[in-house]
Amino acid sequence: MRYPGPDHREVGCRWVFPSVVWQSGAVVETGDEMHVRVSSEQSGDARIVRAEGELDLHTAPTLQAEVDAALEHNPPLIVIDLTKVDFMDSTGLSVIVATVAAMRERGGEVRVVTGADKITKVFTLTGVDQQVGLFGSLEEALA
């Protein structure tokens, strides 16, 4: 087990073979198969929220909880990193739309790193790409 520091959160959701235990603020060995894993960390003024796996009706609440925790830090910028997301549906997209609205109320901004074309497509088909900045890499989003 490694302890990444007090500003790092990592939460898992639904393992088919749950051979692991997740603890607040700690990263424990992963299981055989997961649907989604989320984590967050501070980078300068920005709060980075990362997701990995599949974001759908069942797992989107896990991302929502991580975003809610990020909002509590009152950052001026939240970067949602979807680089390692293999699948995202409209419920995952809804979490991002709600985050954009919440950050606008606070005078903040949300940027999204989309990674795969199939994830970008979810934003463009729904027009959400007009509401939030999409970036090809985390470095670009933080620049």
């Binding site: 759908d56 009706l57 549906d89 409209s90 809804s94 088909l125 729904t126």
Partner: protein
Amino acid sequence: MAVCTLAIPPDTEQVRVARLVATAAARRTGLPESWIDDVRLAVGEAVGRAVVRQQRAGTLSPVHVRLIDEDAGFAIEVADTAAGIGADDSTLALDLITGLVPSVHLVDQAGAGQVIRMEWSGDEATQDR
């Protein structure tokens, strides 16, 4: 024409099962690989929407998914039995489905639920068959 039918419990966790089976069925029918991700996302949206509708209606009846291998292409029908509920809270699911699928029909069964029929057909869908 070959038809496979799935009965999915109205449980959000089971939507993934429908995605996996529909994707496998689409590949088996010879649908172009470039369309497989669209099938995966569209069926996930349709089944997820149906599961939410069943939950809102308070019914434990399954969502029925028909995977149809037709001469003209591939079709998926997703049927719920939710009655007496209002409009969807969000249109994102239907926006995505209509953006992903060449032909979509939404049929309201007069108080007995809804059926979404999604069709991938035409020359491109059948060229490798």
